[in-house]
Symmetry: C2
Subunit: 343 residues, 2 copies
């Protein structure tokens, strides 16, 4: 009976958006466990994207706990019943780790499995401490902006993998759905999890997003990245900083096409020789499979008929993507990447 309930539970309201906060977008990737100022802007933009009415009431925060460096806690309970209504039940947030978790995971080899080794087990514990610390800070930042955020760790939610982190062996999304139906914004994250083949691994936020998208069918998915990821001309693809990666992705004026077999390409404008240029570079410290995973997960989501927007964090463009402005028509002046399934 209990399990029947869990199995059949889907949210009664359609989900509008799953947002991925890239690790490098919300932390200083080269500064150990340091959160970026972008997080505050992201939280404000999420609140704006969720606000139904146009009236701008005073934001009443939902983080009533002590904060290091702050003398007083903020708890104003009187105004809540006059708050403008947030359309929060339409959002799920998933975040990466950035400068949290990666150090602990790579130091111990958690992504390679082997929990019977004391160092791997210790690294598993250390990794979870680091990523759940970040999760708590993100939940708090959102709550301070009045977003009813609820931290939900994949490990605790019962997410298990097989074949390292590329396949989900078990993931009960019913609690995520119940949280949404109750008007909360679930906040999940890349996590250390148990793996049926090698004991343990790192489950990346991108794999989580794909699984949630498959199960819960959001209208669109937004990836907030540290950089606008690509410029493109007819024979080269590179990131804003010219150093990151070559990606087979296009700015808004080039839509990649996802084929029936799950492969994908750019369809507009057509660069005939683009397919020959695909090159993936995986950073040595990236324990989550790097860009190969990220791109293929985004393409898998697009294949479900769900628009994927990849956009630079904390910009006017990210706010427009979060607000759902791009759904019917991509404005000429919007900068970012759209991956859309073209049959």
């Amino acid at each position: 009976m209990e399990d029947e309930n869990r199995r059949q539970f889907h949210p009664t309201k359609p989900i509008r958006c799953i947002v991925k906060l890239g690790g490098a977008a919300i932390t200083w990737k080269n500064d150990f466990e340091r959160i970026s100022e972008n997080l505050e802007i992201v939280s404000q933009q999420l609140r704006q994207a969720m606000t139904v009415s146009t009236s701008c009431g005073k934001v009443l925060g939902m983080d009533w706990s002590k904060r290091p460096g702050f003398e007083e806690t903020s708890c104003v309970v009187d105004g809540f019943n006059f708050q403008p209504d947030l359309d929060s039940s339409h959002f799920i947030v998933v975040h990466g780790a950035g400068s949290f978790g990666h150090f602990q995971a790579s130091k111990s080899g958690v992504h390679k499995g082997g929990l019977n080794q004391p160092l791997v087990k210790a690294g598993f514990v250390a990794t979870r401490i680091s990523v759940t610390s970040l999760n708590l800070e993100i939940v708090r930042a959102l709550a301070r902006e009045g977003v009813p955020s609820i931290g939900m760790s994949p490990f605790a939610c019962g997410w298990l993998t097989c074949e390292k982190n590329l396949q989900i062996a078990s993931a009960d999304v019913s609690m995520v759905a119940k949280a949404i139906d109750s008007g909360f914004v679930p906040v999940l994250h890349g996590d250390a999890v148990l793996d049926t083949s090698q004991g343990c691994t790192i489950l990346s936020g991108d794999v989580i997003i794909r699984h949630l998208a498959e199960q819960l069918k959001p209208e669109f998915v937004v990836f907030l990245h540290a950089q606008r990821i690509v410029h493109c001309d007819t024979d080269s693809i590179f990131s804003e900083s010219s150093t990151l990666l070559k990606w087979m992705l296009q700015d808004v004026d080039g839509f990649p096409k996802v084929h029936e077999d799950g492969k994908w390409s750019v369809v507009k404008p057509t660069f005939e020789n683009l397919n020959k240029q695909v090159e993936f570079t995986v950073a040595a410290h990236d324990t989550t499979g790097g860009m190969v995973t990220k791109i293929s997960e985004a393409a898998m989501i697009a294949k479900l008929g769900i628009d994927v927007y990849i956009v630079k964090v904390a910009t006017s463009h990210s706010l427009r993507a979060l607000s759902g402005e791009l759904k019917d028509n991509i404005p000429e002046d919007w900068l970012g990447t759209v991956i859309r399934f073209q049959r």
Copy 2:
């Protein structure tokens, strides 16, 4: 298939002990969100109780994250493969909230339900932030002592209640069992959860313990309290500080008896008029049902044939209880309370 796995999963090793860290035992109950020094001692005692060998190797911590007020993080990876083995797979930790969570819950009335009211929803978010902050600190304190602790929030684990917090409507313990089987120490806590009858409520750590005890059948349960809770003579029962409560419980020289109907009484020595003296006082700020819940949960556990030890935290007596010394014989010089089912 996925759900079948979850339903049938029980730990392959028997569970030795479920430990309740009382909120007042590990926090300063009258000092908002302040952790007590007891937590460090509790963590050390848990490590000692789990240590299989008698050799005292250097403790290698598993918290490799930044700590406010500490310049450097502690990450010594070299010695892990020579660590003395911990028998950690036999323990579960559940903690209360103390000066975390109660303020947020009582300010908003989360325990009374009504998630459609903006203040209750905000209080739900604020309560979870506070209790998960405490959970993270406890996981970190245990990890620093080399205990492979894993935070598992009841909300995220899918625990739901009905009829306020006294009945569990749904609680999947399979992830807790899997964590134990993988050699981890799950750390759960009193939490704000969804409730099928009134929308939401506070699920107390005591109800969690009873449910875990029913499902996972530990050898014994230890409640670590702030005070040795009772002295007793023939017609009065009171706490160490003479102020807390009157409890129908006995020091070690008086075993309460749990009757078949779930009621219980003291059987040794016999105080004939004790049953007339039962009096429960619930502190006004206690949102979890207070002592009525605590006592009845402990009695329900004893009724399963599981010994319950109630003992003052961070004492030699608590270490002896955690180590399992009391199972066959209660030493004369041990101070604490035993609740044992006598048919």
